[in-house]
């Protein structure tokens, strides 16, 4: 076939393999480059991920939704806090500032804890993190599922007022948890968006929260969203981790998440694949 009669886009017959992977295989080519449709599809995915990072969390409606939850485990109304990072530009370059409360927010939390004057079992801290859409879309449904699960628990856990933090990182939960006299803190935070997952919520559980802890002291549940780990499953896993943390009086590497073991066993199965079978 002469070049003049070649079709402008050459399809790849192995594209059917996409039923086995989310990887962008078999895209075809225009010359040796991406076809227009595939190029624009990628641009759209990247645009959504960028928007998730840069669109600010719309805090007021979120607070209204959290206020409407009304559950016997919850104490008081949700409160709005801010980290030391003033804006997104600073937040992205100064992770240290995102880990600490602003002076005003710190005073507010300390005053609230003084007013209440009692300790809590668990503090739920909702943080915008790197994806506002993750928090906007998924934080409330997840908390609702978790409260429902708590209702079925024999132990009556007392939850601190829910806090909503802007420009925050995971470790800001340590300061908040300590100030609220909480035995454990669960941080619900927008994860760094991937191209196919702009709204992944991460949940980090930390026992005995206090400043100076690091990632090895936490347990993480990742990819919580309708198209990823479903709210009910994520809630069950958090409940499991909370129970274990209270039993062992620790979190992090010393607390093994056995709910994941099924997947590990599966990974050791045979290595058959179509290329070498």
């Amino acid at each position: 076939m002469s070049d003049q009669h070649k079709p402008p886009v050459i399809d790849n017959p192995w594209r059917v393999l996409r039923q086995y992977t989310d990887a962008r295989i078999g895209l075809g080519r225009a010359g040796i480059s991406l076809p227009t449709s595939e190029m624009l599809e990628f641009q759209l995915a990247h645009a959504r991920a960028r928007d998730a990072v840069h669109f600010p969390l719309d805090v007021e409606p979120l607070l209204a939704e959290l206020t409407a939850l009304e559950d016997k485990h919850l104490t008081g109304l949700p409160i709005r806090l801010h980290s030391q990072a003033e804006d997104r530009f600073t937040y992205l370059q100064r992770p240290d500032q995102g880990r600490k409360l602003s002076e005003a927010s710190r005073n507010e939390v300390v005053a609230l804890a003084d007013d209440i004057g009692e300790a809590f079992d668990l503090a739920l801290v909702v943080v915008d993190g790197l994806s506002s859409s993750a928090v906007q879309n998924n934080a409330v449904p997840f908390i609702r599922a978790f409260l429902t699960d708590l209702d079925r628990e024999p132990a009556d856990l007392k939850l601190a007022p829910i806090t909503v933090v802007e420009q925050g990182r995971v470790a800001i939960g340590d300061e908040i948890g300590e100030a609220l006299n909480a035995r454990a803190v669960a941080v619900l935070i927008g994860e760094r968006p991937g191209l196919s997952s702009p709204d992944s919520l991460g949940v980090y559980l930390t026992w005995n929260p206090r400043p100076g802890l690091n990632d090895a002291d936490r347990n993480c549940i990742s990819n919580v969203r309708p198209a990823g780990l479903r709210f009910e499953s994520a809630s069950q896993r958090l409940l499991y981790l909370v129970r274990e943390a209270f039993r062992l009086k620790l979190s992090g590497v010393g607390l093994k998440d056995r709910t994941e073991e099924a997947a590990v066993v599966d990974a050791s199965s045979d290595n058959k694949n179509f290329l070498t079978h």
Binding site: P13, T21, R29, L275
Partner: protein, 469 residues
């Protein structure tokens, strides 16, 4: 032996606390140095520091260690293995003169190879700080670094790719699908290298066996690597796993590497074990290292140095173990270290230049995360610049989207773009294989065949009931 540096311009004298402070302040601006609190306070101070640094004799770096000799095995490695004879031809130069010399005709490819053992990473980092992007490209282009295992990597006029078929659950069929896609787009001559989702010895061994079977069945002149911890690979070798390349992420200070869980002796042990397997056919470079600016600060192990100087010191670690490939994963670390496309591009060119000048087979994971101020156009720019600079290899993944690590790097298509735009070729043994297998009809046009090459047809047919081929 630290002392202060000062530079007088007109009525004003600028002071720099020590050589490390001078190096940091002379570094082109980037967010990681701001985060560390070591960068110049103003644009003017940065250029003054560069002027001051340009007057520092190269010899100074042999007597003023930036990380103390007694505290750091990498400083000891650098100074104990320094070759004074190789250094002789440039030993009289200042940093500024060294830049002039590098750009001149006296610095031929042969000459640059000869002086290599006499150059320390600090000398190389220093001169890079006073070079523009075009200088970094022009000098790197003159450096020759060739390595080999089952094919020959780094020949002039060639650009290799690591085929990176990562999958979020290490699903074998998913991985095989990405490997097939990559091979049919002519990628994978540097290595087929998987970042495992589940990181343990059993899983690594399973992935090694899978890739070994693919490479043997289709007689591909390439090598495989599972990017697991060096101690996992050692254990896999002891258990009889088919290990081609030993992987490890490395940093430029002993404390960084301790935080990664290894020391120089671990690397030596692993290299010896891999050499003992004698699996290479045209060469025996058995190590694959990854680096990246910011790792030392991230591990709180940077000794007050700027991140680019720490990075160059990692290449001293790499070159001590004769690697097949070294990969600077330039944009993966995030915007707190390299904020935007401009900083990522600059860092990629610096790393490639420093690595090549030190004799390391330098490739680049031209990449970014979604919270960095960067996009595909920035990656196109860096890819083109590195292609001109003679970069050894780049990554190749399906459609630029790593569905396991959640970041974007160069695609299989991007590799073909760079090869066609700059007339670069994959490793000669691999290119011959592409032609022999009918993957490419005409390798000179850098264009894949339209259909599925004969040998792969049956595999696809078995999977799809005949619909695919």
């Amino acid at each position: 032996m630290q002392h202060t540096y000062s530079y007088t311009l007109g009525p004003r004298t600028w002071q720099f606390r020590d050589l490390a402070d001078l190096m940091a302040k002379a570094t082109p601006a980037r967010s990681g140095d701001r985060l560390a609190g070591v960068m110049a306070a103003s644009a003017e101070e940065r250029v003054i520091a560069q002027m001051c640094l340009a007057e520092v004799p190269l010899k100074t770096f042999l007597s003023e260690a930036l990380v103390p000799y007694e505290d750091d095995e990498i400083t000891r490695l650098i100074l104990d293995t320094h070759d004074a004879e190789a250094f002789a031809s440039v030993s009289h130069l200042t940093v500024g003169d060294f830049r002039n010399w590098l750009l001149g005709d006296a610095a031929s490819s042969e000459m640059l190879t000869r002086i290599r053992p006499g150059l320390t990473p600090e000398m190389v980092a220093a001169v890079s700080k006073i070079m523009r992007n075009q200088d970094l490209i022009l000098v790197a282009r003159k450096c020759r670094v060739e390595t080999a295992f089952r094919d020959t990597i780094g020949l002039s006029g060639h650009l290799s790719t690591r085929l990176q078929p990562n999958h979020p659950t290490d699903d074998m069929t998913g991985i095989a699908a990405s490997i097939l896609d990559g091979l049919l787009y002519g990628n994978g001559d540097a290595v087929i290298g998987i970042n495992p989702a589940t990181d343990n010895v059993a899983q690594a061994t399973k992935l090694m066996r899978m890739m070994d079977e693919v490479i043997r069945k289709y007689e591909i002149p390439t090598q495989s690597c599972v990017l697991t911890h060096v101690t996992n690979t050692l254990e896999a070798i002891e258990q009889g796993a088919p290990v081609d390349l030993v992987f490890q992420s490395i940093g430029g200070t002993e404390a960084t590497n301790r935080s990664f869980g290894f020391g120089l002796s671990t690397l030596k042990e692993a290299r010896d074990a891999a050499l003992g397997l004698k699996r290479g056919t045209v060469g025996q470079n058995v190590m694959y290292f990854e680096t990246g600016q910011g790792s030392s600060l991230s591990a709180d192990a940077h000794h007050g140095l700027d991140q680019q100087t720490c990075e160059a010191r990692a290449y001293a670690v790499a070159r001590a173990f004769d690697p097949l490939l070294v990969n600077t994963v330039v944009g993966f670390i995030g915007p707190e270290y390299l904020f935007d496309g401009k900083e990522i591009i600059r860092a990629g060119l610096e790393d490639h230049f420093c690595g090549k000048l030190m004799g390391v087979p330098m490739g680049c994971d031209i990449c970014y995360t979604n919270h960095a101020e960067a996009d595909q156009n920035d990656m196109d720019n860096l890819l083109t610049l590195l292609g001109v600079a003679g970069c050894t290899f780049i990554m190749g993944i399906p459609g630029s989207d790593d569905i396991m690590l959640n970041y974007q790097t160069t695609s299989f298509h991007d590799a073909l773009y760079a090869r066609r735009a700059l007339d670069l070729h994959p490793a000669p043994e691999f290119e011959a294989w592409l032609e022999k297998m009918g993957v490419f009809d005409d390798v000179r046009r850098h264009e894949p065949s339209a259909g599925v090459p004969g040998l792969f047809g049956p595999s696809l047919k078995g999977l799809t009931g005949g619909g695919a081929a």
